[in-house]
């Protein structure tokens, strides 16, 4: 027997890495469970002392408040109020995400413009907005701009006679008909645009003729939406001042307007930085190759630089979209009746606080999870397939 085999006897368990790994994990688990148990037992003790309900039965109680500017019956259950609040959150979030991506992309590209003034103005915008607290911007927009600077309804501003701006809200020209029909028409047009774009690309791949899928998609979108519009016999309505309010058009509440504009201004300044960074992150060789092929500046941006920049930017922009959704909870600070404000009011009306706010948190968590799921799907399709 050689001396070597004697040394490689079985490792004792206190030095065996497999045993140690499990031991360490068990210790961590025990600590975490201990902390959770401590919190839970405190909760049990305190709750039993104060006799506050901990279940969700309060959802069936009457809500006892109304939504300003919206139809809502006071006697409907708290559950319905939460649903309405959720709907209001989605409303401001979706509008905000679309607008801030559009504005942010524009400003991000302006940051790289060859025009000195364009560059300076967009840089100033980004640097000023990014370094001011969102709640401060929101308070400013609500108290100083909307409630103080906007005129009373009697002497409302009417730019071009299309809009009515007063401290009671903003009214914009809108489609005359039910919102659901509008959504169906938009969905149909989007489907038409996507399928035409896909078909043009396929055809171009097969025949080598120029695809022009973007203009073709746009055309399909316009044709379908205008066609449906005509077929259904709808029209626009313009808002007019009537009887200390506005009639016609779409009326945006002052708090909705303040929240939406602030979220768009704030988020677009972040998206602008992402867009700028992503355009700069496209390898130089790509632009140089496009130049070598004598592509025009527009074609180079549209076909070479921007698609690749978009791929880089997408996860970060998705994060910003989620931030916007979460930031919309600040609407509660200016009495915009979204989810958080609804929770706050029902708690004020006597609903138990812990379950009400926990429910709110869970809803936000679900929104975040769904958003990140959608983004991941997108991302997987777009991600570069490497070796």
């Amino acid at each position: 027997m050689s001396p070597l085999t004697a040394v490689s006897a079985k490792t004792p368990p206190w030095r065996d890495i497999r045993v140690l790994r499990w031991l360490f994990q068990l210790v961590v688990l025990a600590i975490v469970v201990g902390i959770l148990y401590w919190l839970y037992s405190n909760y049990q003790v305190n709750i039993s002392k104060s006799k506050i309900p901990t279940d969700l039965r309060f959802l069936g109680n009457p809500a006892n408040f109304t939504f300003p500017g919206q139809e809502f019956d006071q006697s409907s259950p708290v559950r319905a109020a939460f649903v309405q609040g959720f709907y209001n959150t989605l409303r401001v979030a979706i509008a905000g995400i679309l607008l801030s991506i559009a504005l942010g992309t524009l400003i991000g590209m302006a940051r790289l413009s060859k025009n000195f003034l364009v560059r300076a103005v967009s840089t100033a915008y980004v640097e000023v907005i990014r370094n001011i607290p969102l709640l401060l911007l929101l308070t400013f927009m609500n108290l100083a701009v909307v409630l103080q600077t906007f005129p009373r309804i009697e002497d409302a501003w009417k730019p071009l006679d299309l809009f009515v701006v007063s401290n009671r809200g903003i009214a914009i020209p809108w489609f005359d008909g039910s919102t659901n029909t509008l959504l169906v028409v938009i969905a149909l047009s989007v489907v038409a645009a996507i399928s035409v774009g896909w078909w043009r690309t396929r055809r171009s791949d097969r025949t080598g003729r120029p695809a022009r899928s973007l203009s073709a998609s746009l055309l399909a979108f316009i044709v379908v939406s205008v066609g449906a519009w005509m077929a259904l016999g709808y029209s626009w309505t313009l808002p007019v001042v009537a009887d200390r309010g506005t009639e016609g058009g779409l009326r945006l509440d002052p708090s909705f307007f303040a929240l939406l504009v602030t979220l768009v201004i704030y988020t677009s300044s972040h998206i602008a930085e992402i867009v700028r960074g992503s355009i700069l992150a496209v390898p130089r060789g790509q632009g140089e190759a496009a130049d070598a092929l004598a592509l025009s500046h527009g074609t180079k941006m549209r076909l070479v630089i921007l698609p690749q920049a978009f791929r880089i930017a997408l996860p970060a922009i998705g994060n910003q979209a989620m931030n916007l959704i979460k930031n919309s909870s600040l609407g509660a600070a200016i009495s915009y009746f979204e989810l958080t404000q609804v929770a706050q009011i029902t708690v004020g009306n006597g609903s138990p606080a812990v379950p009400a706010f926990t429910l709110t948190l869970v809803v936000y968590l679900c929104i975040s999870l769904v958003t990140s799921l959608i983004l991941n799907l997108f991302n997987r399709r777009l991600a570069l397939v490497e070796r």
Binding site: V28, N115, N131, L135, L330
Partner: protein, 394 residues
Amino acid sequence: MSWIRHNLFRTWWDAVLTVALGAVSVWAISSLAEFVFVTGRWEIIEVNLKLMLVGRFPEQHLWLASASVMAIAGWMAAAFGSDPRRPEDVMSMKAKLWDTTQRFGLIVLLGVTLMMLAGLQESLPVVAGIIGAIVAGRLLNLARRRMSWLKSWPGIIWHLVVVSPAVVMVSLTLLNADLELWGGFLVNFYIAIISIVLCFPLGVLLALGRKSSLPIVRLISTSYIELIRGAPLFVLLLLAGVALEFFVPPSIAPGSIFRAVTVFTLFTAAYLAEIVRGGLQSIPKGQLEAGKALGLPAWKITLMITLPQALRNVIPAQIGQFISLFKDTTLAGAALSIVEVLKVSEAITKQDDFLGKGYIYESLTFVALLFWVGSYVMSRESQRLEKKLGVGQR
């Protein structure tokens, strides 16, 4: 002339843009200047300056608050730029002057504005103290670079020594003045600083846990991070406002600042963890393998090889997160009724002298200036620090 042609009127489209934007920016700048120098009624700030800066902070302990600011200023002056210089850092006198103006011009401007608003009598001792602390800090820094016996101190001891006055003063202030009386910008500042200090270790631990090869540890860290990141800060603050007392023994009786610090710490730790994880992922595998080849145990590899590099690689992101924490402290006012500066700025427009006269413009603009200068200077400094540490070069 050619610069103008090249940068402003390259094509007809450029010319249109230049003219339109030029008109807009001239209008914006002139109306801003008019507001600041002509129409702005700044007496509301002058009258309430103390309320905005420190709230109803007890008079007899005010010197502690000023002394902590001085100690912090001295620490920053002493600690930053204390590493030996590289040859490429040496600049001409003119470049140095321009550089210093860029770095500190805004702070000085804000300081002068505050002095003008507060009146020389009141502010001169404090300003003199701060300047004195900065000069002393720079001298210490110089001494460290010049004197051989100081040079031989290990870095960590040096940093501990220079930070200790700040820590002592901050803790003394916390211990002596009743927390419920704190208000104004001081509260924003203190909540931010304390939460940064507390969230840092937790965030690093969570990041290591998420990168760990141990499944249970990974699961716990990942679920904590994702849960917190999916929740809005404002709702968490509201929840803490009504529910934190249920989760601690009745003997603790959390005050509102305690609640705020708890939420900000737990919240920022999750975001910080993701940032640090990004830094850990940017470390080449060879670093770890080199550590293993040297026979170092795992904790030493993490503590001495991967973690320092990871933290250095994500400095701008970390500071960005701290800046947003600093800005988010304003939420504490709306959610927990802490009288922080934004709350004060709304409240003072409702005083008898100012009610209903539209002073909200002046008071909010002042608060915006405070936050803007603070955040902007911090983000500038983080870019400098990044360059100095040679991220992406070494």
